[in-house]
Subunit: 297 residues, 2 copies
């Protein structure tokens, strides 16, 4: 495998349209869905994003010899969960953000009530998509369980709740890693696991995906923190410097920029090393890991 | 079958403990769940309620020759969805209610951010419970799909979004029934359908449950509107008269109290008639329909 310097967007180019078209199909509602709710859901879900998590699902399935097309419902479901969490996190009672993916946040555009409901709808639709489109039933049920655990009160929701407290908590690396393992890491890990479930991955493949996913998730969060310090708001599509403003725990805040950067590089090196147990079909995942390190948004 | 005048609470007495114990088990979180989040989830879910929807799941399974114990995860999942919808509906940006099930609403007790997160967690946990505890996988996947559709943007969430608009919309019976079919009716219908799926009900049994569920759902909403006009706040456990205060569309507002009452009775008569196609095992469902008519909270 040779190293790659492609960006996440470049890697996504091949499959990005596939994901976008599928998300578009899954949000063609009947007239039972009020037009404004439909609009708020599509505004948030179809906004330009990196689509990192759908890519992880598709590439993990491919790495284990599975079919990308078969994994598409799971790729979309993960993006729905990710989008719902952004919509709710941006609410005034949570992080109170005005800008997301380069546009006004959902509640800025549609009001708070519709933003709560659009988030609720997206969370629900993730499970409808898995249960309604994955086959056979064993795979559908396993994926529902995996995604529900990753999104639930001991993972994604827990990380968000702790993050609220984190604004006042004592700085502590173990606590910061624990927050991120749940807030960001759980859904990234679930993404690679879903790919593995759909591809009927071997035990060896699953354990490699597991190691890869855990390290990538943490590396992703470290680069996220670094971009918040050094990034440009126009490129980021969201407000920069907001972590520091809020006194949030961050990796650069705790370790400094250089040590944070070194740590992210180390994690990506380890993530890529784990992929060797899968073999050459994992080159998409390798390129993706390297792209996470080089990302500028 | 003879008529019964038992209240919903009396009917629930036999299985209420079973449901409560199961809900308690499903909310035993690891330390990965922050204590305040755990508390907010349990505060809302374990509050004294009628447990109408869990009863419908269990009695529908029983009516079709299924096992109540096997249906327990689905009964709990439906209660989680119902509770999440109450927690989010009560938020200041939605209905802005202070009292629910005789206690301060979740956001009054824990703050808005935690109420949003507790609702998100409950919604997610519903699918974790179905996917993790129902067997075989076919039943688990079918139940996830059924519940996701009932809770999604063309049903529960749509009804809530329309309800927000309904406060200013022109009074129209078709519109009111359409809102309630989605806001209240969809989850009640899903409850009986879940019971049918778990009991592997015959086509004949399923169609009877379907008719029963649709009529009961509407009857339930009419009695809800009537209680809001005439009910006592202490018995209701929530504020009375709030629909009129907000200029919301209601059945008594459109049809008057007497005609609304007559309509609810007619719907229950029809619901009970549909049960004849199932036979004597459906007597629990019959008693439940009659209790809905007599309810005082």
């Amino acid at each position: 495998m040779e190293t790659s310097t492609a960006s996440i967007s470049q890697l996504a180019a091949g499959v990005g349209d596939m994901v976008r078209q599928a998300l578009d199909r899954y949000t063609q509602f009947s007239e039972d869905c009020p037009p404004r709710l439909c609009e708020a859901i599509r505004y948030s879900l179809l906004a330009p994003g990196k689509r990192l998590r759908p890519l992880l699902v598709l590439m993990s399935a491919e790495a284990c010899g599975g079919d990308m097309e078969a994994a598409l419902p799971a790729a979309c479901a993960v993006e729905m969960i990710h989008t719902y969490s952004l919509v709710h996190d941006d609410l005034p009672c949570m992080d109170d953000d005005d800008l997301r993916r380069g546009r006004p946040t959902c509640h800025k555009q549609f009001g708070e009530a519709l933003a709560v409901l659009a988030g609720d709808a997206l969370l629900t639709m993730a499970f409808e998509t898995l249960a309604g489109h994955l086959r056979p039933a064993r795979v559908a049920a396993d994926c529902c369980l995996e995604l529900a655990r990753a999104a639930g009160p001991m993972a994604l929701v827990a990380g968000q709740a702790d993050d609220l407290d984190g604004e006042t908590a004592a700085p502590d690396l173990a606590r910061l890693e624990s927050i991120h393992r749940r807030k960001t890491g759980a859904l990234i890990l679930a993404s690679v696991r879903l790919g593995g479930i759909i591809a009927r991955a071997s035990r060896r493949q699953r354990s490699a995906l597991e190691e890869y996913g855990k390290r990538l998730g943490l590396a992703f969060q470290i680069t996220d923190d670094l971009l918040d310090v050094a990034g440009d708001e126009n490129t980021l599509g969201k407000r920069a410097g907001k972590d520091a403003d809020r006194g949030k725990l961050t990796f650069p805040g705790l370790l400094g920029v250089d040590e944070s950067r070194r740590r992210a590089e180390q994690l990506v090196t380890e993530a890529v090393a784990a992929l060797r147990r899968i073999g050459p079909q994992a080159e998409g995942l390798e390129a993706l890991a390297r792209a996470v390190l080089e990302r500028n948004h």
